[in-house]
C-alpha cells in the first residue's frame, strides 16, 4: 500500500466505522445482494479491496450507484462487517468531489412520471449528489 492508498483507506474506515479485518471471506454479502448483477465490484470485493487499499478502482466504478442500501448484507453478515456502509463511504468520497454529482437536476425530467413519489427524488439526490 502506498501512502496515498493508506490515506484513502483511513478516510474510508473513519467515515464508515467499518473494520474490514472482521471479514472471514464467506461471501454471504454477495450471495444475498439484490444488485449483484449490476455491480462490477461486489460487496465482498468492497470489503477486501478497501482492506488492501485498492480504493481508486472503486471510486471510478458504476457499482457505487447500483447499491440499493437495502442492508441485506449488513443484517445477514455473520461477522457484523457491514459492507453497505463501506459502499456508502466510497460513494460519498466520489460525489463530494467538485463537479462529480452523479445525478443532475436536468436529468430528472426524464425519469419523472405522474406517480413518482417525492421520496424517490429526495433519496436519489441524497445518494447520488452532494
Amino acid at each position: 500500500m502506498n501512502n496515498k492508498e493508506k490515506l484513502l483507506k483511513e478516510e474510508i474506515l473513519r467515515m464508515s466505522g467499518v473494520n474490514p479485518v472482521k471479514c472471514m471471506r464467506c461471501g454471504k454479502c454477495s450471495g444475498t445482494c439484490p444488485a449483484y448483477d449490476e455491480m462490477e465490484y461486489h460487496p465482498h470485493q468492497f470489503v477486501s479491496m478497501v482492506e488492501s487499499g485498492d480504493i481508486e478502482p472503486l471510486l471510478e466504478s458504476k457499482s457505487l450507484y447500483r447499491c440499493l442500501t437495502c442492508f441485506a448484507c449488513v443484517d445477514r453478515c455473520p461477522r457484523n462487517v457491514e459492507p453497505a456502509k463501506l459502499v456508502e463511504a466510497v460513494r460519498l468520497l466520489a460525489v463530494r468531489k467538485q463537479g462529480a454529482n452523479h445525478l443532475k437536476p436536468e436529468d430528472v425530467a426524464a425519469v419523472l412520471d405522474d406517480d413518482t413519489p417525492q421520496q424517490l427524488l429526495v433519496s436519489a439526490f441524497r445518494k447520488y449528489a452532494k
Binding site: M15, C67, V122
Partner: protein, 262 residues
Amino acid sequence: MKVSYFPGCTLKNKAVMLDEYARRSAEALGVTLEEIENWQCCGGVFTTSKDEVATKLSSVRALKDAALKGQPLVTVCSACHNVIKQTNYAMLTDPEFASKVNRYMAEEPYNGETQVLHYLELLRDTVGFDAVKEKVVNSLKGKKIAAYYGCLLLRPAGVMQMDDPENPRIMEDLIRALGAEPVVFANRNECCGGYVTVESPALAARKSADVADNAKAAGADMIITACPLCRYNLIKNGSELPVVYFTELLAEALGVKEDTNE
C-alpha cells in the same frame, strides 16, 4: 391519547391517502396524531457515514420537538421511519455525532430521548392488536393478503428493533386482527429497487418483479405496504396484484375509509 406525528413529504403529495387513512384509523382507535409544527423533509435516506451531520438535522429537530412535548414520535412512511429512527439511534449511541449536531440546536441539547414508533408499532404495542380486532366493523374475512415489508422497516435490525428481520410478523398479525388471512412469502423483506429506479430502471424492475411474483406464487390476492416508493416501484413494474397501503386496509376494516366530508 396523543402522540407526535411526522407525516413526511410524500404523504403530503403523492401518498395523501396513506396519511389520511392513518389519521382516521388512529382517531377511531382513540389515538390523536398531532402533526409536529414546521417539520422538514427527513431526507429520504439515512446516510451511514459518520461525518454527515447537516443532512440529519431536520430529523433531529423533529425528534427534539417530540421530546419537548414528552410524546413518542410516530411515522407511517417506512423511509421517514427508517431515517428518523437511525438518526435517533446515532444521537443516543454516538456522543461525538451528538455533540456535533447539538452545536446546531438552539437551547437545550438533544441526546436521543424520544421514542420513535412506526404506526405499526403504535398499533401493536400501544393500542394492541386485540383492541384493533374489537373495533373492526368490516371484517376482511376471506382476503389473502401478502404483507410486503421491504428493507426500510426492518433493517438494520439492531437499530430498527421492530421485529425479527428475517421472520417478521407485525403486519401478518395486523392482517389477522382485521379478519383476513396473511400470506407469508420469502421476498417480503427484499428490496423493491428503491431509488435505484432513477439510475437503473431495469434493476428496479427486476427487483419489484421478484417481490410481486413471489407474493402471487404464494397465493395472495393483494399486497400491502407502508412505503410509497415500494408501492410505486411494484405498480410501475407491473405487479399483477393490487398494491395498497396498510392504512387503507385498516381504515376499511374500521369502517372509516369513506369520509363523509369528502
